[in-house]
């Protein structure tokens, strides 16, 4: 993406303000009602994903057991009962044809979706930080080489490359790990561009010059002086990347090249669901709805994080009254 657009997207000030404390960040995030609700939903989803075996056990089900007695084989495998076979035993109903418990598959699917997205985001941030900092702090030559590598990275179309790579990697390689590696490895250029631009701007500031004159090494300056100020734009950008990564995993699985059965994944459920929507609409609506709620909450949370970390938005959020200033909201950038 072109640099000007990227910087606008991350809401990064040309020169970052000193990082505010975690407590202040928390207060500013909480002051935005929508973001607070989104954070709660995200937390709930993460907990559900972590506790998937526990939740499935609580429901008395597991994601892999076939229940042929719960589907009508004469009608082509339609779940017996209304709403896709929803009952006290099967909270979300059962899968058409196999009769596997949908609730268990959905919570195990949450593990895959969120796990892959978390890993991919961490990878994107880590690569972006290292490359961006090295480019900003290294000599001209290093900067040239790394910036060209970043350009190449930008030219790799994510979906297309991911599809192509998934074709040649042997099936024995664990799929979730592979997908996280592919997304993280292809899509880090945005982070590194933001880090480089910010670090270059910071480098000319007095507190960095002071550290350099005090004889501190490059990496010590990077770690102790630059990183704290880079935290705000990087966290903001990561919060915006996270929901995108969820969508990419779902899309790859939807196309049938992502997570392979029997491992459950939301995207993969949707592939099969479109042949069943008339006889078992819940089979389509449940994974689609969850995907929607997850990405929506993460996006709202990302916006909230951006506003909370944006020094220019600070005065617009009246901390303490628990609500945003209404009326003229022109400078607040939670678009």
């Amino acid at each position: 993406m072109s640099e000007a657009l990227l910087v606008q997207e991350a809401g990064a000030a040309p020169v970052a303000a000193p990082a505010s404390g975690a407590r202040q960040f928390w207060l500013r995030l909480r002051a935005q009602r929508a973001a607070a609700v989104a954070a709660a939903v995200v937390l709930l989803l993460l907990l559900a994903a972590l506790a998937a075996p526990l939740l499935a056990a609580l429901a008395g089900q597991d994601p892999d057991t076939y229940h042929p007695d719960l589907v009508d084989s004469a009608a082509g495998g339609v779940p017996i009962g209304s709403f896709g076979g929803i009952s006290a035993d099967h909270w979300f109903g059962v899968e058409p044809q196999t009769g596997r418990d949908l609730f268990a598959r959905v919570v195990y699917g949450a593990r895959v979706s969120l796990g892959v997205a978390v890993a991919a985001t961490v990878l994107q941030v880590a690569i972006g930080l290292v490359v961006g900092l090295a480019a900003a702090l290294g000599n001209r030559w290093i900067d040239q080489v790394l910036s060209r590598i970043t350009d190449i990275n930008v030219a790799l179309p994510l979906m297309v490359i991911a599809l192509a790579l998934l074709a040649i990697v042997p099936p024995s390689f664990p799929r979730p790990v592979l997908i996280a590696l592919v997304i993280g490895g292809i899509n880090w250029a945005g982070t590194s561009k933001i880090v480089r631009a910010q670090a270059l701007a910071l480098k000319s500031l007095d507190f960095v010059s002071a550290a350099r004159l005090a004889g501190r090494g490059r990496w010590s300056i990077a770690r102790r002086e630059l990183l704290p100020s880079l935290a705000a734009p990087v966290i903001t950008y990561a919060a915006l990347l996270f929901p995108v990564n969820i969508t990419v995993e779902a899309a790859l699985s939807f196309l049938g090249v992502g997570i392979k059965p029997p491992t459950p994944s939301w995207g993969q459920m949707l592939t099969e669901a479109d042949t069943w929507y008339q006889s078992a609409p819940t089979y389509l609506l449940i994974p689609a709805g969850l995907l929607f709620v997850t990405v929506l909450s993460l996006t709202v949370l990302g916006e909230g994080v951006r506003t909370a970390l944006d020094p220019r938005a600070a005065s617009r959020l009246r901390i303490g009254t628990g609500r945003e200033e209404r009326g003229e909201r022109t400078k607040e950038r939670a678009s």
Binding site: A155, A164, L165
Partner: protein, 329 residues
């Protein structure tokens, strides 16, 4: 300006060359048994040996890469077993599956993807910029809140989910539309438009959300600037401020984002094409990936990469042209 263009062009050529090296290394060198892949899993060792000879796979890697690059720049000849076939530049190789030249395959698919992208593009610009302008104009009121939430919903919905829902609602439940099928424009323009209506709408609904956000935030940023306050103080009316100043601030970023999206969309409409069964570049790629047709995969990635690089350069240029504050360097 000329210096900037030349540097940008040099950079683009360098990136594309590096892309060919990386793609060659990843797809032709790393798998190791290219002859087996080309021939298929049921080939006997003798047949594999024949394929190796035909594709000249026992040449050193750098010679093979050189031939690959030569093909792109100047064209090359392929042995088909019985004779020799010429593949004109830019030659991206020959499909393992259909023996068709990859460039020709892409060219036959390009109008299909083009139909999808151009129609959707017109829709999403109208919808996105319109929504953005409306919500910047009605800022702080209920209209803006509703539009902001609708935009967020658009961003949170994957294109295949909205597409599925549209098919279910309009084709199955209400039966207002026939199931989408692609008819070439040259055959029947009316059928072409009806067949592409749902794909256009799905793609446009999702994409326009991004544009609405960008338009709104750019306009609000301009509205908060001091010179706008001065105009207000001089008694310039709100409609004139919106039209002459705020909207102008949104032009540059919207044009830049359009160029980028347009570039990546030629390879990136994979999902829409797969869902609606539109026989374009994206669906062909998914097929090639599933049957491991290496030349088609590599060719399509390269062509998409080319469009992305081109779009990036165009985006930077348009940004600078539309916004005089940007200094080209």
């Amino acid at each position: 300006m000329t210096g900037f263009l030349l540097r940008r062009l040099g950079g683009a050529v360098f990136v594309l060359l590096s892309l060919t090296v990386i793609l060659y290394a990843v797809f032709y060198v790393a798998p190791g048994d290219v002859a087996q892949i080309a021939c298929g899993p049921r080939c006997s060792p003798a047949q594999v040996a024949q394929v190796t000879e035909q594709l000249r796979l026992d040449d050193p890697v750098y010679t093979q890469y050189w031939h690959f690059l030569q093909g792109i720049v100047a064209g090359r000849d392929f042995s088909t077993g019985t004779g020799v076939e010429h593949c004109a530049a830019p030659c991206l190789g020959v499909s393992y599956q259909s023996d068709q030249q990859v460039m020709q395959l892409i060219l036959t698919k390009l109008p299909v993807t083009g139909s999808l992208v151009i129609g959707a593009f017109a829709l999403w610009i109208l919808l996105g910029v319109g929504t953005g302008v409306l919500s910047a104009w009605r800022r702080g009121r209920i209209t803006e809140r509703v539009l902001t939430w609708l935009t967020l919903a658009g961003i949170a919905t994957p294109v295949f989910v909205i597409g599925l829902l549209l098919i279910i609602i309009f084709c199955s439940t209400l039966q207002w539309l026939p199931s989408p099928t692609y008819v070439p424009f040259t055959e029947d323009p009316e059928q072409w438009a009806w067949g592409l209506l749902l794909p256009w709408v799905s793609l446009a609904l999702i994409e326009s959300a991004k544009y609405a956000r960008l338009t709104r935030s750019s306009m609000l940023e301009t509205l908060a600037e001091d010179h706008v306050r001065t105009f207000r103080a001089y008694g310039v009316g709100e409609p004139a401020i919106m039209r002459r100043h705020a909207l102008r601030g949104a032009v540059a970023p919207v044009i830049a984002l359009s160029a980028l999206d347009f570039g990546s969309m030629f390879g990136g409409a994979v999902l829409t094409e797969s869902l609606f069964g539109i026989p374009g570049i994206g669906r062909e790629l998914v097929h090639a990936v599933k049957v491991v047709d290496l030349p088609v995969v590599v060719g399509m990635v390269l062509v998409t990469g080319f469009f992305v690089v081109l779009a990036n350069a165009v985006a930077d240029l348009l940004y600078a042209l539309a916004d005089r504050r940007v200094v080209l360097s």
